[in-house]
Subunit: 199 residues, 2 copies
DNA sequence: CTCTGGATAGAGCGGTCGTTCTAGAACTCT
DNA sequence: AGAGTTCTAGAACGACCGCTCTATCCAGAG
């Protein structure tokens, strides 16, 4: 058998992390088995534990970091799409809706998918969640500050925007309907407009 | 009829549903075992499958229905606390924050906790999610209409409020900090005020 | 009393879980 | 060429999974 000459899709380690991320997104932490990860990645159990000696938690933590970058890029693209922060935030919601719809409501945010079953029982993973959320919130807050919103207000509004985006994604997945995310786009936009006009 | 020996806490069937709800909230669907449910409920596996012959999914569906009622009551209490819809919605967020904090960030919304791992793979449970969300949204929308908000706007704003509450709860659980929910209280209030003033 | 049927009790089924372990293949360095 | 390292390969382990099954218990009906 072929040995280590990296199969299609990059080196083994990368394929394992990618497969982990994809599976965790769709079926959560407890619902995903290490053997299934190996199978999907086209690797063997031996390889998995060779690259990730700390096991499933390390695997999940790395997948979370990788996925976090994807969302950071999505937010960056959405936020850049308009000079108006209200429109920019709405664009982010629409990008999330597009992505979710394309995957038949399967691929949601990895943070949300893993958080609710592992919260409080894995310090390693906990840190990756917090880092991801902090980065995303700061991205949004920075955009809000560009229209002169006070730093404190921008930070808090960004927190609420993030909450609404995460929640709307959950609602959209449950009902197999992008309405929640599209609606959030509109009303978060209105919220930002309102905050701008009365400081 | 009726399990006659009924230990402390009501009849066996009720205890099983309660234990299921409590465990699902804390560790999700896949992370919760039927034997653990039986143990926590002070029942035996035989009793569990006697009352819930369709197994774990039926168990989860019933727990979801029970939990949904609790949230409906919480929303009702919050919404009744003020004539001003903006203040009423904020009160709901604070009630959620209080409840979450009391349980050391463990007891969140059962819908969110189970949705992300079972979405698209259990029609029975899917229906309970949708019914819960629809009921909660309508509760909030009804309150918004009391200040003359158009029905369509009220419905959409209620959807966004619900998204933000669910999302803020997730964020609060992750960071073991009620700031997200308290912030959502303030900014959802501002959103409603803004919607009222420009229709 | 016996009979009945809901409820309780838990051993046991086949299967999967995360993980460990040994063996060997492929490549580098000397 | 030989030694050493890295990576692949998958059998095997004990624990636990959801679920089935038989046996027993017990209140009320006759």
């Amino acid at each position: 058998m072929g040995g280590r000459t990296a199969r299609a899709g990059g080196d083994t380690r990368t394929r394992i992390v990618d497969a982990t991320a994809a599976l965790l997104r769709r079926q959560g932490y407890e619902g995903t088995g290490v053997k299934q990860i190996a199978r999907d990645a086209g690797a063997t159990l031996g390889s998995v534990y060779h690259f990730f000696p700390e096991g499933k938690e390390q695997l999940a933590a790395e997948a979370l970091r990788r996925d976090s970058e994807h969302y950071t890029e999505l937010l960056r693209d959405g936020l850049r799409s308009s000079d108006d922060p209200a429109e920019a935030v709405a664009a982010c919601a629409h990008l999330l809706a597009d992505r979710l719809k394309e995957s038949d409501w399967l691929d949601g945010c990895l943070v949300a998918a893993t958080a609710l079953e592992k919260v409080g029982r894995s310090p390693v993973i906990q840190r990756t969640w917090e880092e991801s959320l902090a980065a995303w919130q700061e991205q949004i807050a920075a955009k809000l500050r560009t229209c002169g919103m006070p730093a404190r207000t921008a930070e808090e509004a960004a927190c609420t925007v993030l909450s609404a985006l995460e929640g709307a994604e959950v609602l959209s997945r449950i009902s197999s309907d992008d309405a929640s995310l599209r609606t959030a786009a509109v009303y978060l936009g209105r919220l930002i407009v309102a905050l701008r006009s009365d400081g």
